[in-house]
């Protein structure tokens, strides 16, 4: 069975990470920003799995599981914050957050 090379897997992870980063820098919507953070975390997990597959070891997949748990925790708190943000400010534009006091 022919296999993929390590570099192509890592380059895919780098491209996905960079796309998520561009989205985080340009989009002003809070939910899209959270989705972009998800893209970046997923790309980081992909890099872990690719590196683990290089040596045929399970450590990369274990690290992906930890990234997964962290992403789930982050998105739960982030979406709760988005709901509160929307309730108090009426919009989802992250630029409005500079009006919050305290």
């Amino acid at each position: 069975m022919a296999t993929v090379s390590l570099d192509h897997g890592l380059i895919l992870a780098a491209i996905l990470f960079v796309i998520g980063f561009v989205g985080l820098l340009t989009r002003r919507n809070l939910i899209v920003a959270l989705a972009c953070i998800e893209i970046m975390l997923n790309a980081a997990g992909l890099a872990f799995v690719v590196a683990g597959a290089r040596w045929g070891s399970a450590d990369g997949q274990v690290m992906f599981l930890f990234v997964l748990a962290m992403a789930a925790a982050e998105v739960a708190v982030g979406l709760a914050l988005a709901i509160r943000f929307r309730q108090s400010l009426g919009r989802l534009d992250v630029d409005d957050a500079d009006e919050m006091k305290g």
């Binding site: 570099d7 939910i31 899209v32 989705a35 597959a53 997964l68 748990a69 925790a73 739960a76 108090s88």
Partner: protein
């Protein structure tokens, strides 16, 4: 398997680009689901079927369902479409293109082949509950903290309109 990897990689990249360019929030989230499915196929071709299944169940299932529920709760479709001015893309795109070129150069085209066999759920579980068991405990604490924190944040009553500085004391 190799062609499967490249096709899934192309789908993942295109879907992710569409995520950050759509102005309709629901469309962007659905493209994100497509991207996560494509990454799951990539995991499968890399010999990681357990992680591929988890990607579909947890990422594309649970996390994206959270996103869609938040969008429905917030009634975002009543908002104006989320257009970004074209000029806002230029600066980040140029800088990130340089960064990506550096990354690809750093990774290099040395053609290390990946390990041929697949690493199944059994090996992953043995590693997870062997040397990494402390990490599992930490992850469980993190998830519990996130659960309590999300419950606390989302259930606060709406902030009163202007001039109530004393009511904010309850928020630690």
């Amino acid at each position: 398997m190799t062609t499967l990897f490249y096709i899934a990689a192309a789908v993942a990249i295109i879907a992710t680009v569409l995520v950050i360019t759509r102005s309709n929030l629901v469309h962007a989230l659905l493209y994100l689901v497509v991207s996560l499915f494509a990454v799951a196929v990539v995991f499968y071709t890399l010999g990681a079927p357990f992680v591929a299944a988890l990607e579909v169940i947890v990422y594309a299932g649970a996390i994206m369902m959270l996103f869609v529920f938040a969008v429905m709760l917030l009634n975002v479709s009543a908002d104006a479409p989320l257009r970004v001015p074209r000029s806002a893309w230029i600066g980040p795109l140029v800088l990130i293109a340089v960064l990506l070129a550096e990354l690809i150069y750093g990774i290099g085209l040395t053609n290390h082949a990946l390990h041929a066999g697949e690493v199944g759920p059994r090996q992953v579980s043995e590693a997870l509950f062997g040397p990494y068991v402390l990490g599992v405990e930490l992850a469980s604490m993190l998830l519990l903290a996130a659960l309590i924190g999300a419950r606390h944040i989302a259930s606060q009553p709406a902030v009163p309109e202007a001039g109530g500085p004393t009511d904010e004391g309850g928020e630690a």
